[in-house]
């Protein structure tokens, strides 16, 4: 471990345990511009020699400890899978991008037909890949969040209050995502995005446990759905709102989360075998969510290297996929949009 900052005893133990199990080194780094949830740059995903956990410079005490605990736990899961040569992440290729963009385009057309104020065609075309990438990023992250949080909660009882603060903050930030684009993006994708976070928060509200984390309490737009009978909900205008639909889809996603994650014994001391099981659960959970969201052929499970390569040529993938939908016309439109 390379750290020039004070660390509480349980965190020091967690770091050295992680390093010992994975036979790797972890470096801690402060950065004034770091993401509020911190960042893990690990040797299994990136082509690096050591793992780095980066957190905001103003996290000086327990906030920093929680970020470290969260990323160490995730590192353990990734590392265990890598040791068994089965660490894969969601990636994409030309075919998957083409299929996804066509699907998003079809859904967008359906929505646009009902709208009074239409989206300019250049903007619509640009939105397709942005939306695809958004779901790619979220699906590579969101399913692991409840796994990591449940594990940290069980293994690090001393930082539970800090964890709750972080999770609540994260929940509000995630629910705020896409808000400005609510009227632009197809309803289906707005709802699925919110539903994913709703399900995660509901799962964590039960696991931590913390009622205040329930979206119907924590998220202003959802408060009106608290304490309502199903019958009452079905007979009101709410059934047509995106937030109500997010709740309905979210409740179904919550069932998927519970079905996958409930069998895990979070209190078990981690080792390669148990972390591998957790990794497999994470993969299954991701696949179940993808299926539920009808995005099954949008992504492929590949090595991190594959994703790095795909990222380099994603512009080409986008262009080719758009040409398949719009023909050569799209080249002019894309040029105009620049």
């Amino acid at each position: 471990m390379k750290a020039d900052m004070p660390l509480s005893k349980p965190i020091r133990l967690l770091i050295s345990k992680t390093e010992e199990i994975l036979d790797t080194e972890i470096t801690l780094r402060r950065d004034p511009d770091a993401e509020s949830g911190g960042t893990l740059i690990d040797v299994y995903t990136y082509n690096l020699e050591k793992n780095v956990i980066i957190f905001p410079a103003h996290y000086i005490g327990l906030l920093k400890d929680f970020i470290i605990a969260k990323h160490c736990t995730h590192l353990l899961i990734k590392g265990a899978a890598a040791k068994e040569s089965k660490y894969l992440i969601l990636s994409f290729d030309q075919d998957s991008v083409s299929r996804a963009l066509r699907q998003i385009y079809t859904d967008t057309l359906k929505d646009e037909a009902k709208k009074e104020k239409k989206l300019p065609v250049e903007k619509l075309i640009q939105m397709l890949f942005i939306l695809y990438q958004h779901f790619h990023d979220d699906l590579n992250e969101v399913p692991w969040n409840p796994i990591v949080n449940a594990s940290v909660y069980s293994r690090m009882p001393k930082i539970r209050k800090t964890q709750l603060y972080h999770v609540m903050k994260e929940s509000k930030a995630d629910m705020d995502e896409m808000m400005e684009q609510e009227n632009i993006i197809p309803r289906r994708y707005f709802v699925l995005d919110k539903a994913m976070f709703y399900a995660r928060d509901m799962f964590l509200a039960k696991t931590l446990p913390a009622d205040e984390l329930k979206p119907v309490i924590n998220i202003p737009q959802m408060k009106k759905f608290n304490h309502l009978e199903v019958k009452e909900m079905l007979t009101t205008r709410w059934t047509h709102t995106a937030w109500y639909q997010s709740k309905v889809f979210g409740d179904n996603m919550l069932e998927i989360l519970v079905r996958n994650l409930d069998p895990i014994d979070w209190s078990k001391e981690p080792d390669i075998e148990s972390c591998n099981k957790i990794y497999s659960t994470g993969v299954n959970l991701t696949n179940d969510l993808i299926s539920y969201m009808s995005m099954k052929d949008w992504f492929t499970w590949e090595s991190p290297k594959h994703l790095r390569e795909a990222d380099k040529v994603k512009g080409e993938y986008e262009k080719t996929a758009l040409k398949k939908i719009f023909g050569d016309l799209v080249t002019d439109l894309l040029e105009n949009a620049k």
């Binding site: 020039d4 004070p6 660390l7 509480s8 005893k9 509020s36 905001p56 103003h58 996290y59 000086i60 005490g61 327990l62 906030l63 001393k158 209050k161 800090t162 603060y165 903050k169």
Partner: protein, 152 residues
């Protein structure tokens, strides 16, 4: 004249320190201290930079000098606690942090190090109280930081 010049040099050093260029910062701090050795801030800033570069024993000496010049300098007590923590002198670190939190009850770092030291000394319950206080203050700092980010 030398007082003003000294302050200017310390300011320059601080600019480097904020960009994590501690070696350059140390050069300016040293010059600033030479011009006005009676200013405790110079000794304190030097201690901070030395801690960042891992020179804890030297940093401790600078903290002590800052405290000698101003025994109520809470930041210097806090920094002393940090240096002592790194030197694994937990009891002394705890004492320094207690002094720091008495002088400034809003020092989140001092409360946290206090918690860490109490934990190391096996005083788990007391450690939890110190951690709790540190977390409260950290959350306030975090909310302020988020507000600044939004305002940027």
């Amino acid at each position: 004249m030398s007082e003003k010049e000294s302050i200017e040099l310390l300011r320059k050093g601080l600019t480097y320190a904020r960009r994590t260029r501690f070696r350059e910062a140390i050069i300016y701090y040293k010059k600033g201290i030479t011009l006005n050795p009676k200013n405790p801030e110079g000794w304190f800033l030097m201690a901070s930079a030395l801690i960042e570069t891992g020179n804890y024993t030297e940093a401790l000496a600078y903290c002590e000098k800052a405290i000698e010049l101003n025994p109520h300098y809470s930041d210097a007590w806090s920094k002393k606690g940090l240096a002592l923590y790194h030197l694994e002198r937990f009891e002394e670190s705890l004492f320094a942090c207690m002094r720091a939190t008495t002088l400034n009850a809003n020092d989140a770092t001092a409360w946290y190090i206090k918690g860490v030291c109490l934990d190391e000394l096996g005083k788990t319950e007391e450690a939890q109280d110190a951690y709790g206080k540190s977390l409260e203050l950290e959350i306030i700092i975090d909310i302020e930081a988020e507000k600044k980010k939004v305002g940027r």
